[in-house]
Subunit: 261 residues, 4 copies
C-alpha cells in the first residue's frame, strides 16, 4: 500500500499525520449555540466545524434545520476562528448554494445510494465526506464513491457511521473492521462517527480510540452546549466539558502511540 | 378500517376489487424487446407496463439505462396497447421530463430516504409508487410517505420489495407481514415486488400468492423475452411463457377466493 | 419433485392432503387451562396439542415451566380427546422422560445449533419438530436436520418461526420464502409458527394464509383461555374465540382452493 | 465502577493488569501440531492454550474433532509448558469428562442459548468462557450468563466473537461497542475473538488493538503451523510467524499505553 491519498482543505490535511476531529451540533440552532461551540473548537485546536442546516428527518413534521440561515451562522462562526465548515447536502439543486458557505460537502447515510447526487458531486470543486449507508456492504460503499471519483473529484473522505443490525442496546453497530477494509481497498482517508453509530455518550470515547488504533484518520463527534435541550439527537451529544475530556483522552492515546514509535 | 383509498389512473384502479399487475423488464433495452412484452401484457389484460429508463446501479460503469430514449420506447409501446407506464425517477430535476412520458412515478428502494425527492413528488400531479427502502422499518416507511402526502399528492401506492437480512439463499427477505401492517396504518394500497425481493424465479409465484391472501393489491413482476441476455437482473426475470403461467395461476387463486366469498 | 415424505403419528398425517394445526398455550399453567384448550381443539377437529413444560427463558428468574407436572397435564388432556402432544426438549438427558409423555419432540429455535441434542434425537423413536434458529440460513437449517436424519430418524417436520432482522414492529420476520425453499431442498413437510414470528395477534390469520398458499403443511398457533393473564407470551396469544375464527378462516381458504382444483 | 471481578486460574489472572491471549488451532489435529503451537506459546509467554476436541460443525459429515484423543493431546502439550487449557463443552453429559482435562470450559456461540448446559456449568468448579451467541443482544447475553452465576460459579469470562449482520466482506461483524457495554453491566472480564469474527487474517491485528483500547481483557486467536492444511477454519488462522508478529504489535501498544499512564 502506497501513501494514503490525503485530502487537503486550506491548511487542514485529512489522512495525514494527525488524527483530526470534525465537531459540532447535530443541527445549527442559534448564533449563540454555534459560537459557543466554535470557541471551544478554537481552544482545543480543532479545525473543522460540523453542523446541520438542511436536515434529513424521518418525519416531515420534525425540525428540518434552519436552512440558509443555518449555513450563514456556520460560516460566521467558522470565519471568526478560521475553521472549516462541513455540512450536509441532500439535493443536487442545493449543491451550488451550500458550496458558497461550506468547505466540505457531506453526503448523509440516507443518500449514499442517491447516485444522481453523487454524480453531481463528482463535478463539484469541493471536498466530499461520503458517509456509508447504514445498510451498505463495503463493496456497495466503494462502488458508490466511484460515482464521485469518476466525475473527477478526488477530494474524497469516507466515514463509517454504523450499520443497522438486530442490536437493541446501541442505535447502530459501529463496524470497526470497515476502517482497515476500506483503506485497503481505496487507499483514502476514513473517519468514524461514533455519535450516530452508538447513540450513547459513554461509548464515544472508547469507539474513537478503536478508530484511532485501526487506522481511522479522524472522528466526527456531536457536541452541544446543552444536550438536553437540543432540537435533535441530544441523547448522544456530549456537552462542552465531556467533549473536552474526550478530545484530551484521544490525543493522549495518539501521543502515547507516536512517542515511542 | 374504512374503505381503502384507491388510486385511479385513467381507467385502472389500484386498491380496488382486482389484483393488478405491473410488469415489464428491469431495463428498457430496445423497441423490439419492449413491444414483445407490451403485446403479451395486452393479451393477458394487464394494464401497467414497467421498465427502467434511468437506472440506479451499484457500479457507475454498469449499464445505466437508455434514459430519454427508454422513456420514449415505453410510451410508444404503452400507447399502442393503451397501457399505463410506471418508471423510476431518481432526481428532483428529472421529475418534469419523466412526467411527460410516465403515468406513475416510481421511487426506488435506494431513494426512499431521499426526502428532497419525496417533497417534490408531493407537488407532482402524478401517482407515485413508493418502494420501501430495504433498510426501513415500517415506521420510517410510513413517515417517508408523509413527505409526499403532506405536499398534497394523495395518489400513493406502497410497495414491499424485500428487506436486507443475513439470509444468503434469497437476495432479500420479502417481508409479507409488512402488507397487513402498512394497510392497517395507512389504509392505502400496497403491492409487492417478488422479483427483486427473492432474486429467484421459482419463488415469484408462491410469493405473489402470499401477497394476494394477505391483502396486497397487486404485484410488480419482471418479465423479459430472453432473460439470459438481459442487461440487468436476468436471473430473476421470467420469460414470456413463465410469466403467462404465473399470471394464470395467481388469477386462478384470486377467482377461487372470490367465487365462494 | 416426488411425493413429499409425510410424517404419520398415530392417525395424523403431517404433509398430507390437509393443512394441520398444532395449538395450545406457550406454557402449561394448570389443568383447567389445558383442559379448556383441549376441549376447543376437539370441537374444532384439531389433532395436535402443543404446550411448554420445560421452557427456555431468557432470564433464569422468569417462569421456567411446570416441568414433569406440565408433561402429565398435557398427556391427561390429550388422552381425554385422543390428541397428540408436541412439547419441547432442551437437553439430551430429558429425551427419555419427555418421550414417555409426548408424541412429537420439539427442538426450539435456541437449540437448532445444539448438535449434541440433534444427534440424540436421531436415535429417538419419536417424530421431531425442528424449529429453525432465528438466525440460521436455510443451508444451516437443512444441515442441522441432517444430524437427525443421519441417526436414522426420518420422522422430521420443519418449522419456519421467523428470523431476527432489524425490524421493530414485529418480534421477528416470518420468512415465507423459506417454505418453498426448504420443501424444494428436502421434500419434507414444513409448518409455520406465526405466533412467535410476529408477536402480534392480528397478523396470525394473514400469515397462516400466506403459509397455506406457499406450500406449508400446517401451522403452530398459540391459544390461551385468558391471554392477558398468561405467564408467558400473552401478547401474541389468541383467546378461544379469536382462535376459532382464525381456524375457520384458514379452513375456508383451504376449501376454496381445493374445491375448484 | 468498582474493581473488575478478575478470574484467577492457577497463576493466570484474566481481567487483571495484563492483556492475556488464548491461542491455538481451531481443531486439535495431531500431537505434532499442538506441540508446535504450545512451544511457540511458551516462547511468547502466553499462558492459555485453546483447541477444539469436540467441534460443533454445521454439517454432520464435516470433521467433528478428535474427541477424547484431542483432550489428551491438549493436556499433554499444556503440561509440558505449564499452560492452561480452554476447550469447548457442547453437552451436559460431557462436562465431567472435559473437566478432567481442561482448566477453562468454553461455551460456543451456538450454545449460548442452551440453558440446560449453562445451568450445569453453574454447578461446575471450573472457570467458564461464555461466548456470545452471534444472534444475541447484550441483554440476552448477560441474562444467559446469569444461569451460570446463579448456580454459584463466579469464575466467568465473556467473549465477544462477532454478530451476524448483512455484511458480506467479513464472516461476522465484531461488535466492539459490546466490550464497554458488557463491562459496564457486569464488571467482569470480556475478551474478544477476532479470528472467528472477521474470518480474515489481516484484520486480526487491528481488531485486537481495538479490543485492547476499549477495555477488553484479552483476545482468543487462532494459530496453526500450516493454515492452508487446517482441517477447519484455515482461512482465518495465522501461521506461527504471523502470530508472533501480531502478539508483538499488540504488546507494543499495551506497553505504550501503560508506560506513560
Amino acid at each position: 500500500m502506497g501513501n494514503i491519498k490525503t485530502v487537503k482543505v486550506n491548511d487542514c490535511e485529512i489522512g495525514g499525520d494527525r488524527f483530526i476531529f470534525m465537531a459540532g451540533p447535530c443541527s445549527v440552532e442559534s448564533e449563540e449555540q454555534i459560537m459557543k461551540i466554535a470557541t471551544l473548537l478554537d481552544e482545543l485546536k480543532i479545525h473543522i466545524l460540523r453542523g446541520g442546516a438542511f436536515k434529513p428527518r424521518t418525519s416531515p413534521v420534525a425540525f428540518q434545520g434552519l436552512g440558509l440561515e443555518g449555513l450563514k451562522l456556520l460560516r460566521k462562526a467558522a470565519d471568526k476562528y478560521k475553521l472549516l465548515v462541513v455540512t450536509e447536502v441532500m439535493d443536487t439543486k442545493d449543491i451550488s448554494l451550500i458550496s458558497e458557505y461550506a468547505d466540505i460537502l457531506q453526503v448523509g447515510t440516507r443518500n449514499m445510494f442517491n447516485y444522481s447526487l453523487l454524480k453531481e458531486l463528482g463535478k463539484a470543486r469541493k471536498a466530499v465526506l461520503l458517509k456509508r449507508s447504514f445498510m451498505a456492504t463495503i463493496e456497495e460503499y466503494v462502488m458508490a464513491s466511484e460515482y464521485i471519483l469518476q466525475g473527477g473529484n478526488e477530494d474524497l473522505i469516507y466515514c463509517e457511521r454504523g450499520i443497522r443490525t438486530f442490536m437493541k442496546e446501541t442505535r447502530f453497530t459501529l463496524d470497526i473492521s470497515a476502517i482497515p477494509l476500506i483503506k485497503q481497498m481505496t487507499n483514502r482517508p476514513v473517519i468514524i462517527d461514533p455519535s450516530h453509530a452508538t447513540g450513547i455518550r459513554s461509548l464515544i470515547l472508547p469507539m474513537t480510540k478503536a478508530g484511532l488504533v485501526t487506522g481511522a484518520s479522524g472522528a466526527m463527534i456531536e457536541v452541544h452546549p446543552d444536550p438536553d435541550k437540543a432540537l435533535s439527537d441530544g441523547a448522544q451529544s456530549l456537552n462542552l466539558n465531556q467533549f473536552r475530556a474526550v478530545i484530551e483522552e484521544v490525543r493522549k492515546l495518539e501521543n502515547q502511540i507516536k512517542a515511542s514509535d
